[in-house]
């Protein structure tokens, strides 16, 4: 449902895999629950050309290099392994270093 006008007449659109960092932080302390990944970790908002901001983890990056406006691309990566040994996958963004699109690893 559209939270602006409550219309159910919605259309799915394909979003760009690339965008720019709107804001970010490097978390130095383990979150209170659920998150099982490494600490410190970087997360923040990526603004896509369609005008949507996605909150995301950042990967494949040097924390000190992250900057507002930096071009980043989406990748699918392991988030953690659950208790039954399943690999839980998630979207993340990494700095653009080549002209290839996001890859599934």
């Amino acid at each position: 449902m559209c939270t602006h006008c409550q219309s159910k007449n919605l259309e799915e659109i394909k979003l760009s895999r690339r965008g720019r960092i709107y804001s970010f932080t490097v978390v130095m302390q383990r979150p209170p629950e659920y998150y099982k990944g490494p600490v410190p970790y970087a997360e923040g908002f990526v603004e896509l050309p369609e005008g949507v901001r996605v909150e995301t983890l950042f990967t494949d990056c040097n924390f000190d290099d992250l900057k507002v406006g930096m071009e980043v691309e989406m990748v699918i990566e392991r988030l953690h392994e659950d208790e039954e040994g399943n690999q839980i996958m998630a979207f993340k963004f990494r700095p653009v270093t080549s002209n290839k699109g996001g890859v599934i690893r």
């Binding site: 932080t25 979150p31 209170p32 629950e33 998150y35 997360e43 005008g51 995301t56 983890l57």
Partner: protein
């Protein structure tokens, strides 16, 4: 609004905000005991007896079922309605507003609004984030402010030193506040060398947790025991999320949001508060801004309309926000020394404005006979609450 009758504050009560775990020289108290203590203090100051209270609203976040009942059970169950409110960090302002409304509309004459909390330790756990966001590690409150701070720095040119200066000012005020958890000043160097929690937020940019209670008794003017120094409610506003603000705790910070924000929640509250009170920012003599994290105070006073965007760091540097400045902000330290018992915090902000307007703030009293003051709180949800009091 012309059909609402005027509502006065009869009395206020606080506990010392502290850690009540019985360890390292701290007293051991249950949360409901802190609530009870605050209520009894407010009754005494109002020169009223418990039997005069016609309804009670209690704000808590982590105290389980019947939080108000737990506290009031220790004072006396008199058959009055007790309503418990959880509205995250704005709980204490939300109960104030309910009490205000029930008197302004002449449903009751004397109503109790209070909040208390005995806090869990460590990072604040919150169900305000969807579970997938918690798995992704987005549920760290200092990190939300950190993202807001990075954005604020980018847009205004403000610096980590500006944020540290908020802590230094508020901890200095806290040293004059016997109810604060910390009553010790800190230096710029101490703030800027404290442990990094979520870049660029350091430990001393974060308010400390605390346990505590705060109570306010509101009444119609004819029920006041004394009309000397009478303080009345000029506005009581609460807004919850607007389109464009994120779900969850992240909606409480600066410039975030999954889509571009159409109307900022704090700016919306301010607009309504000025409309309801008939005042403007230039009329405020003392302000409690929301400083759960140091930079929050800066963008808060900008969004409330006290200065233009990006100007708050300069006002702070020039001393305008000091107790003897032209816009004293967080005279009791705000959350920064007082600490943050979630359910009690927003009530305690209102208590400080009340004390300032009655010249009862002792060493931290704003000079020049302040007559009008404003308290603003935020909360996960998001929520934004403004209370304006006048004498």
């Amino acid at each position: 609004m012309s059909r609402l009758r005027e509502v006065a504050i009869a009395g206020v009560g606080l506990t010392r905000f502290d850690i009540y775990d019985g360890e390292k020289g701290h007293a051991s108290k249950e949360g409901y005991e802190l609530g009870m203590e605050a209520v009894l203090n407010a009754l005494q100051e109002a020169d009223m007896e418990w039997k005069h209270i016609q309804a009670a609203f209690c704000g808590t976040v982590y105290q389980n079922t019947g939080s108000g009942h737990q506290a009031i059970d220790q004072i006396g169950m008199t058959g009055i309605p007790i309503v418990n409110v959880e509205n995250a960090c704005s709980s204490g302002a939300s109960v104030f507003r309910l009490a205000y409304q029930s008197i302004a509309t002449e449903l009751y004459d004397i109503v109790l609004a209070f909040g208390y909390e005995k806090m869990p330790r460590g990072f604040i756990k919150s169900t305000a984030w969807p579970i997938w966001q918690r798995y992704m590690g987005f549920n760290v409150q200092p990190a939300n402010y950190a993202k807001g701070a990075i954005r604020y720095m980018e847009e205004t040119g403000s610096t980590e030193e500006d944020f540290a200066r908020v802590t230094v000012k508020n901890r200095k005020n806290g040293a004059l506040n016997p109810y604060a958890r910390f009553q010790k000043e800190v230096t710029m160097e101490e703030v800027l060398s404290s442990r990094m929690v979520a870049k660029p937020m350091r430990l001393l940019h974060c308010c400390p947790l605390a346990d505590g209670g705060a109570a306010i008794i509101l009444c119609s003017k004819d029920k006041l025991k004394s009309i000397g120094q009478m303080v009345t409610v000029a506005a009581s506003i609460l807004n919850s999320g607007v389109y464009g603000s994120e779900t969850g705790g992240t909606g409480t910070t600066y410039g975030g949001g999954s889509v571009r924000i159409h109307e900022d929640l704090v700016e919306l509250s301010a607009k309504q508060a000025w409309e309801m009170s008939g005042y403007g920012p230039e009329d405020m003599d003392v302000v409690e801004a929301y400083d759960t994290m140091a930079p929050g105070e800066l963008w808060d006073i900008e969004k409330l309309g006290f200065c233009k965007k990006g100007e708050a760091p300069r006002l702070l540097r020039e001393g305008a926000l000091d107790i003897n400045g032209r816009l004293p902000v967080n005279t009791d330290s705000g959350l920064m020394s007082r600490g943050h018992p979630l359910g009690a915090t927003a009530s305690a902000q209102i208590v400080e404005i009340y004390k300032q307007l009655r010249s009862e703030a002792d060493l931290r009293q704003v000079p020049g006979d302040p007559k009008i003051g404003l308290a603003h709180s935020m909360g996960a949800g998001p929520n934004s609450a403004i209370t304006i009091l006048k004498r």
